[in-house]
C-alpha cells in the first residue's frame, strides 16, 4: 500500500505527444486515487484523454511525467519487460470489442492468459471452469467466439480479465457494441465480479446510463481530470 492507503494512486500524471509548438497535451497533471473494492467510472467525450489515462494506469503507455502506483508497485518506473509481466499478473483488461482469440474456444481464451503467468494446468482449468460457471457460460465453454453472441463474448472477456486474479480491472467502453439491456447486464455483472472479489475497477465510458453501477465518477475533458462527487449528481 502507498501512503494514502488507496490501492491505486495516480499523481500529477501528464502525457504530451510531440515536442515544441506541435506538442499536444493529452493528459494534464491528472491525480486520482481508487480504493480496493471500488468500481469507478471515467467519463468523457472521445479525444478527452480517458484512453490515455487508463493506458498509463494499465502499463500500456509511458507517462511524460508523474507517477502511478498500484499497491507497492510503482508502475511508471517499470521497464518494458517488467510492464509485460505486470500486465499479465496484476491487471485485467476488458476491451471495447471483446478481442477474443477467434480460433480458441471460450475456455481456451481463459486458459491462454493463465499460460502467460505459468499457472499449473490443473489449477488453471479449475479456475476457468469456475469463472465460466459464474458468468453463466458453462455450456458455452467449448464454443468459438464466432458461435457466441455479443453479450456472451463480452462475458468471456470479463472471465479472461479475472483469470489471473489481478488487483486492477480496466474496462474500455464495454457496452460500445451492445444494446442497452445487454450493456446493463454486462456492467452489472462486472460490478458484481469486482465487488465480490475485492478488485479495483475502472471503467471508461461515455454512456451516462452505465454510471449508476459505479461507486464514483471521474470526468475528463481536454486532458483535465475532475472528480464528480457521485453518479447521482450528474445531470440527466
Amino acid at each position: 500500500m502507498n501512503d494514502s492507503g488507496s490501492l491505486l494512486q495516480v499523481n500529477d500524471v501528464s502525457k504530451v505527444y510531440g515536442t515544441g509548438h506541435t506538442a499536444v497535451t493529452a493528459l494534464d497533471q491528472a491525480t486520482m486515487s481508487v480504493d480496493q473494492g471500488e468500481f469507478v467510472a471515467l467519463l468523457g467525450p472521445s479525444g478527452s484523454g480517458k484512453t490515455t489515462l487508463i493506458s498509463i494506469v494499465g502499463g500500456l503507455l509511458a507517462a511524460t511525467s508523474g507517477t502511478v502506483t498500484l499497491g507497492d508497485i510503482e508502475v511508471t518506473a517499470l521497464s518494458r519487460k517488467d510492464l509485460t509481466r505486470f500486465r499479465a499478473e496484476r491487471v485485467g483488461f476488458v476491451f471495447q470489442s471483446a478481442n477474443l482469440v477467434p480460433f480458441l474456444t471460450a475456455r481456451e481464451n481463459l486458459l491462454y492468459v493463465a499460460t502467460l503467468v505459468k499457472t499449473p494446468k490443473k489449477a488453471a482449468q479449475q479456475r476457468a471452469d469456475q469463472l465460466l460457471e459464474e458468468l453463466g457460460l458453462a455450456d458455452r465453454a467449448k464454443n468459438l467466439p464466432e458461435q457466441l453472441s455479443g453479450g456472451e463474448r463480452q462475458r468471456v472477456a470479463i472471465g479472461r480479465a479475472l483469470m489471473n486474479d489481478p488487483d486492477l480491472v480496466l474496462v474500455d467502453e464495454p457496452t460500445a457494441s451492445l444494446d442497452t439491456a445487454l450493456g446493463r447486464q454486462v456492467v452489472q455483472l462486472l460490478r458484481r465480479e469486482i465487488k465480490d472479489r475485492g478488485k479495483t475497477g475502472i471503467m471508461v465510458t461515455h454512456d451516462l446510463r452505465m454510471v449508476e453501477y459505479t461507486d464514483r465518477v471521474f470526468e475528463i475533458l481536454d486532458g483535465h481530470l475532475t472528480h464528480v462527487e457521485s453518479p447521482s449528481t450528474l445531470g440527466h
Partner: protein
Amino acid sequence: MTGPAALLSRGELTRTKGRFGAVVGALALIVFLVLVLGALADGLFYGATGAVRSTNATAYAFSADAEGSLIRSRLEQSDVAALAAAPGVEAAGPVGVLLTGGTGPEGDVDLAIFGLDVGGPGTPTTLVQGRLPTSGEVGVAAVDTRLQDDGIDLGSRLSVGDVSVEVVGFVADSAYQLQPSVWTSVEDWRSMRDAVRPELRGQPTAINAVALVTSAGADLSAIAAALPGSAVLTAEAVGLAIPGVEQQASTLNSIIYTTVAVAALVVALFFALLVLEKRELFAALKALGSSTWALGRAVLIQALIASILGVIIGAIIARLFGLIIPATVPTLFRTDTLIQIAVFTIVAGIVGAAFSLRRLARIDPATAIGGTL
C-alpha cells in the same frame, strides 16, 4: 505443450485449416517441383558420370591437352608402366573409351565401350548379376543394367561393326554421358574402335587414358610428373570434366535454389499477411501480457508445421510422378537429395516466417485500447 505459443498455434492450425491448407498446398507444389528438378539433376549427373564413379580407380591420367576428357585423351600402352612406377601409385591400368552405336537382340543401342585390363584399375565395383570378364579373357563383356531395357540378358550378344561380345554380367550405375557402358578387354575395345573409326586403324598400342589406384594423400601432380605431357585428375574431377556435366548441374542447381527461395518468399508473404490481419488481436494479447517472443514462437511453430507438411506431401507427389516419367528421361530420386531439399525448404519456411517477427515486435499494445489519444 501448454505454453501460450503452443496453445495459439495449435488452435489456429486446427481451426483455420482451409487457410493453412493453402500455404501447405503451395509449399507442397514447390517441393514437388524442386524434387523433380533434383531427380533430373541427379539423373543427368549420375547417368553421365557412372563409369568413372563406380570403379575402383581413384584417379585417371590423361594427355595434358585432353582437359580431363577420356574421349579426347591419347596415351600409349607403354605409359601405363611409367605411371605405375610413379610415387603414390599402387596400380595402373589402360583405359580405352569408344562412344558408338551397336546392335543388340532387339536392334540398335547407344553404347559406351570401355576397354581395360579387367580386374585392374578402372574395373567396375557395382556388379549386380553374372560376372566380370577375367583378366586376358576376350569376346565377353559386363554391361550396364540399363541395357536390360533393350532386351539384353546374360548370354546375349552385342555387336559393334563386325565385332561382337557375349554378355556375361551386369553392373549398376555405370553409364557414361547417359550411354550404357560395356566393359570388355582392351583387345575387344580396339577391334570395335577399328571397326567404326577406320581412321584410327594402325594404332595398335594407342589407349585413351590410364586408370590409377593411388595411395591415400598421394600427390597427383607428382604422379603426372612421372609421365611428361600427362595430367592426372581424381575420379571425381573426371566426372565433372565430362562435357556438360558441370554446366547441367550448376544450371539445375540454380533453378533449385531459386525455387527454394520462392518457397521462403511464399511463407514470408503468408505470415506477413497473417500478422497484418491479426494486428488488432496481437495488440490485445500483448496488452494482456503476452511477450512478442511468445507470439513470435506461435508464428514460427506454425511455419515449421506448415513447411514439414508441405515437404511430406510434395515428396509423396514427386515419388508418384517418378513412377510415370518415361524411362528415356534420366531421373534419379535419391534419399540424400530428398533430405537436403527437405531441410532447405523447412529452413526457408522458418526464415520466411521470421521476417514477420519484426512486424510483430512493432505492434504497440497501447493500440488495443480506444484510439490512443
